[in-house]
């Protein structure tokens, strides 16, 4: 077997420490080994010389002693391939990063380089021809979550001709912002801002490319980039959203009244209802648990009131749907930190104490007070309102980070409420004020000039006690100078830290995605690749990755769409790296040790007990199963036991 060794001097980088003549002398003593030296093998001239030599001398294997394989292995493999040699007949020996740059003594460096080259020659003799396989890729996508991030992504992909399945847990599209009356910093109406996007997704020119699944959840995902199979549990809506004309005739006859979770439980709704007025899709849903039929009663008052035949489907039932997709975008959004975890807010409860999300609903025209600024439970107009920022935030015991968007939202709330109730005074308490951005500061400027609104810094809230006699709340807090102060308010609004929406850990488990230390999904790179997950073909947008405002969520949704459009191109196939594990079924005893060891669930045991099988598309080539197999039945292509032992033997000679 003829082995050609190329010794790259890398200018002086290698040649200054590793003696070329000694290396050549030593290597040419080995039968069937030829040694060539070059100044810069990675240069165009270097690669041409290599290609020419491969064509002329037709070696069986090639060793390149140069820099790190992490740098140029792919380049030189390509040269081998173009010269008609199998690209995997190459072994790179790292005599720059691992030898010349780290060894002060030239004699020692030369000896070490020779040792490594000998090992490279011994290893490469065992190299096997491997082929990069290509597989077809599905270019469609599944988007999980129908907030601004998910919908921007879905619309963009649909516009490019991709089929998109949007899986939304609730019966309503638009995420959190459609529940807000106005948005900071420009006081736009939340529903109006998203209306064009929602309308495009539902009825626009490319809407036929989008399948909307509401009251649905992703329950199982198998496969890999280009070939995911996503199982979705669609719970019954009992209303055909396409047939329904949205008249709402069905709602008043319904005899059931329950707290409306879409108003944070502040108002009531019927078992058949819209989540809130104007919610899209413009079709009510029946709450499966609340409907009298669930208790065995034979009620059909809603059906009788409905003017459209078969718009209400009382026999609608849960379905397990299967969708194929090349990419998955997670856009499940955010939630508020649970204030029950904070002892100082132990006694904080309604009426009187609300989260900013609840306060948004109190101000919303389609909310529990029809947009009137009142305490929903007793109808009083509060004279004093305390708005507490940084609840649970900037606290190493709870949420160490700053969510970055609550200050702007909090000032928006006092600005809006102050306009509606000129006699009410608002007092903001904050740990830190954060309002970056070219427009965001305007809200703060407005609030600063408003005589109804004051603000003050605090370091810690000691307690919040309801004063039943006065029907108000008393807050004891510490100021930066260490002194304690009491504040009384008719209404308290808490702005808790922003955390991932509930259920994200389950979804992360289903998708096998890593979570960061705060419980968000871990991004590929926090600065430059925050919309990519660490799993190929799975992308992140909005509150599942970090606290996000609408701008950030929309941008990330668009970024995720960009990754899908460039990563999955119709007509282009995906390459499968041949560095994979494979089971020799004649040696497999069927012991079942390997399947749970695989981090990618790539190994299955077929029912016929004919031995383990590795799915080469799911396998990532780590070789953990190979090391675990007690029978030595699994081979790691390009990292076989024979190759590694040959390398080791030569290193120790």
């Amino acid at each position: 077997m003829k082995v050609n060794v190329w010794f790259c001097q890398c200018g002086d980088n290698i040649a200054a420490k590793v003696n070329r003549e000694i290396v050549e002398q030593e290597l040419t003593r080995i039968p069937q080994v030829a040694c060539r030296s070059v100044d810069f093998l990675c240069s165009e001239e270097g690669k041409q010389a290599l290609a020419l030599d491969l064509a002329e001398s037709r070696p069986d294997r090639v060793v390149i002693a140069a820099c790190s394989p992490r740098e140029y292995e792919a380049t030189f493999r390509k040269v081998l391939g173009e010269a008609g040699l199998n690209p995997y007949y190459l072994q790179m020996v790292n005599i720059r990063e691992h030898v010349s740059w780290v060894t002060p003594e030239p004699a020692a460096a030369t000896a070490k380089a020779l040792r490594l080259i000998h090992a490279g020659i011994a290893r490469v003799r065992h190299h096997e021809p491997l082929m990069v396989r290509e597989v077809d890729a599905n270019t469609d996508a599944v988007v999980i979550g129908a907030g601004p991030a998910g919908l921007k992504c879905a619309r963009t992909l649909a516009e490019a001709g991709r089929h998109v399945v949007v899986v939304e847990k609730t019966p309503v599209l638009g995420g959190l912002p459609v529940r807000y009356e106005e948005l900071f910093p420009n006081m736009e109406c939340g529903a109006c801002l998203l209306e064009p996007l929602l309308s495009e997704v539902m009825h626009g020119r490319y809407a036929e490319n989008i399948e909307l699944l509401t009251i649905s959840e992703v329950v199982e995902v198998t496969g890999y980039q280009g070939n995911f199979i996503v199982k979705v549990r669609r719970r019954p809506r009992f209303v055909d959203a396409h047939a329904c004309i949205g008249c709402g005739e069905c709602i008043p006859p319904c005899p059931v009244s329950i707290p409306n979770e879409f108003d944070c439980g502040l108002g009531q709704r019927r078992a058949i209802s819209f989540p809130f007025a104007g919610a899209l899709p413009n079709a009510p849903f029946i709450d499966e648990g609340a409907c009298l039929r669930a208790q065995g009663e034979n009620c059909s008052r809603c059906v009788q009131a409905c003017p459209v035949p078969s718009a209400i489907l009382l026999d609608d039932h849960e379905e397990l749907l299967e969708r194929k997709a090349g990419a998955i975008i997670v856009a499940t959004g955010a939630a508020l930190y649970n204030t029950a975890k904070l002892p100082e807010f132990r006694d904080a409860r309604r009426p009187g104490v609300y989260t900013n999300l609840e306060f948004e609903r109190i101000l919303a025209a389609n909310g529990p007070t029809n947009g009137e600024f009142r305490i929903p439970e007793d109808g009083r107009i509060p004279r004093t309102v305390a708005i507490i920022h940084c609840v649970g935030s900037l606290d190493p015991e709870h949420v160490p980070y700053c969510s970055g968007v609550c200050c702007g939202a909090a000032f928006k709330l006092s600005h809006l409420a102050a306009t509606r109730s000129p006699d009410t005074r608002f007092h903001h308490l904050y740990k830190e004020l954060v309002l970056p951005g070219k427009e965001e500061f305007l809200v703060y400027a407005k609030v600063r000039q408003n005589p109804q609104i004051t603000m003050e810094r605090y370091t810690r809230i000691a307690e919040l006690v309801p004063d039943a006699a006065l029907g108000s709340q008393r807050i004891r807090y510490f100021k930066p100078d260490g002194s304690a102060e009491w504040l009384a308010a008719d209404m308290v609004v808490l702005c808790p830290a922003i955390v991932p929406a509930s259920g994200l850990a389950n979804l992360a488990g289903t998708l096998e995605l890593a979570m960061d230390r705060f419980g968000f999904l871990e991004e590929y790179h926090g600065r430059t690749d925050s919309s990519r997950s660490k799993l190929q073909g799975v992308y992140l947008a909005g509150g599942c990755q970090a606290p996000a405002d609408i701008q950030r969520a929309s941008n990330q949704g668009m970024a995720a769409a960009g990754y899908v459009l460039s990563g999955l191109v119709p007509g282009r196939r995906l390459e499968v790296d041949p560095v994979r594990a494979r089971v020799d079924k004649t040696r497999c005893s069927g012991c079942r040790i390997c399947p749970p060891v695989c981090p990618y669930r790539a190994i299955t045991m077929p029912a016929d007990d004919a031995g383990a099988e590795v799915n080469e598309l799911l396998c990532q080539g780590c070789g953990t199963c190979v090391a675990a197999c007690p029978a030595g039945a699994i081979r790691a292509a390009h990292f076989t036991g024979a190759q590694i032992l040959a390398e080791m033997e030569a290193l120790l000679q």
């Binding site: 790190s68 790292n94 990063e97 020692a108 070490k112 040792r115 890593a514 190979v626 090391a627």
Partner: protein
């Protein structure tokens, strides 16, 4: 006063140069070694690196095989827990290393001859330090001489 200073005969004796095999995972530790190279951090040449895709690929037979073939020490370097490119390979490698130590004890091989550590792609300095420490430790233990 060291032994070498006390006895000129010992000082004149050639210093024992241990032979050590280092298994490095491709994504973190090998990249960390490259980083030490780029930073031109000097360390002793006694460790010969074998690159594997993941520390989880390192079979116990590789470690035993290295000692049998004359290695005085074996070093396994992996990604930090949670940073593993293959998610769990690091855990498998730590588990196997713990098991290896028990086995080596039974063979009368000192535990210090088989070291496991974490080196990230950014930790060029740690790589150079771990290698230097390992060479010094094994040098003090002397040749394995199975």
């Amino acid at each position: 006063m060291t032994l070498e200073q006390a006895d000129p005969a010992i000082a004149a004796r050639p210093r024992f140069e241990p032979r050590i095999i280092g298994f490095l995972c491709n994504w973190c530790s090998y990249a960390g070694a490259d980083k030490a190279g780029s930073a031109q951090l000097f360390y002793p040449p006694n460790v010969s690196v074998i690159r594997v895709m993941c520390s989880g690929r390192v079979e116990p037979q590789f470690v035993l095989g290295a000692f049998r073939r004359g290695a005085d020490g074996v070093l396994i370097l992996a990604c930090h827990p949670g940073d593993c490119h293959y998610k769990e390979g690091t855990y498998r490698a730590t588990q196997r290393h713990r098991m290896m130590l028990r086995l080596l004890r039974q063979f009368g091989i000192e535990e210090a001859r088989c070291r496991f550590d974490y080196v990230s792609a950014a930790e060029g300095e740690k790589f150079a330090r771990v290698l230097t420490e390992m060479v010094e430790t094994v040098r003090e233990l002397g040749p394995l001489g199975l």
